[in-house]
Amino acid sequence: MGWAIALHGGAGDIPRSLPPERRIPREAALRHCLDIGVVALKANKHPLDVVELVVRELENIPNYNAGRGSVLTTAGTVEMEACIMDGKTKKCGAVSGLTTVVNPISLARLVMEKTSHIYLAFDGAEAFAREQGVETVDPSHFITQENIERLNQAKEANRVQIDYTQPIQKEVKAETHIADGDSQIGTVGCVAVDNHGNLATATSTGGLVNKMVGRIGDTPIIGSGTYANRLCAVSATGKGEEIIRGTVARDVAALMEFKGLSLKEAAAYVVEESTPKGNVGLVAVSATGEVTMAFNTTGMFRACATEDGYTEIGIWPSPQT
């Protein structure tokens, strides 16, 4: 046993040709967030606190599709959603349709701790945010130039994009620097377990590029994008609609519980057998301190560390050992 932590910045069609100026800041951000999480675990913070603070950090980083840097709806606006769950108690909190809250994951936690409900959305969630006095800003705070570009691309291609989709190749159109293979951002999430087997998970996102206003994805759906119980904690990323119909996060835990699979086996089964290729990634930790990061997409921004010193930060599949 021992503590373990894993985090992700989204799974998708991340091309190997990703230019260094796009790749390096994102890797650095993963490393930074991993360090913060590890420090907190070493300081004996409860995993619920650890996953919240790591996801807050990821939300604040504009390179990732959560909080600031969220992708845009078809109306050019930001609608954020997030979810947090505690493994031992299965208490959870979720929010959707946020437009002014700087840290959606913290509002999700407040829903869990300060209301008798699990899930608040849109105007009701915003009103709750004001009651709770959380930090709110003008909606323009969350919008980045990159995301305006992504939305334009998607509208031109007339489709809703999982944010890692490669830009549509137009015949002779010279791609702008920003559009060059650069839809590589995604949902963020973090899972953690401490020495006592306390488990927690947190996920946060802006959703799909060019999504319909009011579209809810897998992130705030307990059992789909986010789930934790006494066995494990899971955070998923990818095409929300596939994660929902695959009840991905719950299935990892269910395979462990009902079929006796190990954490790694369960995660591998879900991404390889139960969900369509190119759509899903996840990070998970078990009560006994194991960690796994699995995906069936080209890549997934991810990082993990365990108490016995193992560390991994990556984007594409690791070479098979």
């Binding site: 349709g97 699990i118 999504k211």
Partner: protein
Amino acid sequence: MGGWAIAVHGGAGVDPNLPAHRQEEAKKLLTHCLEIGISALRSNLPAIDIVELVVRELETDPLFNSGRGSALTAKGTVEMEASIMDGTKRRCGAVSGVTTVKNPISLARLVMEKSPHSYLAFSGAEEFAREQGVETVENEYFITEENVGMLKLAKEANSILFDYRIPNPIESCSAGAAATDSPLQMNGLPISLYAPETVGCVVVDSEGRCAAATSTGGLVNKMTGRIGDSPIIGAGTYACDLCGVSCTGEGEAIIRGTLAREVAAVMEYKGLNLQQAVDFVIKEKLDQGFAGLIAVSKNGEVTCGFNTNGMFRGCATENGFMDVGIWN
């Protein structure tokens, strides 16, 4: 194959003192809905069509807590939610925060079939409804006098309540009173103040295809924007090749227990049959929570399970079995 089967529910958790005429009304509506479903099954409509049309009927009737007759939010308005799932290919659709759409379950179906998404909510769902040309009405249409009365009681008791058909005498609702005359409690409140009436339907058709649909107005006096289990795929609603499930009761417990998916998961991963799966889930996966569910399997089995005091439900199978009930 085992033939077709259908089940409907109108909510789990019933006041043991519910007057006889209210019980009759409920049973009559459940029977009527079963008959509509059975007729459709005999016409060889697919399961997905049948769960939708049965739930539409339940939404339209003001008796239970869905569509017209929905419980009211703290602001005295109606915010409805629903979800539907087709076991074949596990397609799904859900809506929340619906305020003018006459039949939320049909909007959920349109999300599944006519949008690139699985779940739309609030103004986005309403906008989609207009684009799709579904029937819309003023929010007032959904509000019934009984529910206005219920909200008033809930505010006086200063608590979140599930829908309760029979307004209780004021003395039982004195502010801060957690004690109750009735020994039965649910969600920490006297059961006399608690009777959730989410509606749902599950069907397996003669081709062995399963489907599930659930619809609700949610909790009395809920915060605006509160979403419960009914639109959450895997919680209130789930269908796959093996089965179709619709749940009702304490939303928070159903979500935490991923109840509907749980039934299918133990069938799939533990090899339990439908009855074993339902019994297992109700017994082991609700912790301190109270809920009920109906379920069908691709083999033509149908069952219900609940740990509440009663559940409004009915079921029928192709070989002529039919049962409508409230109590254990």
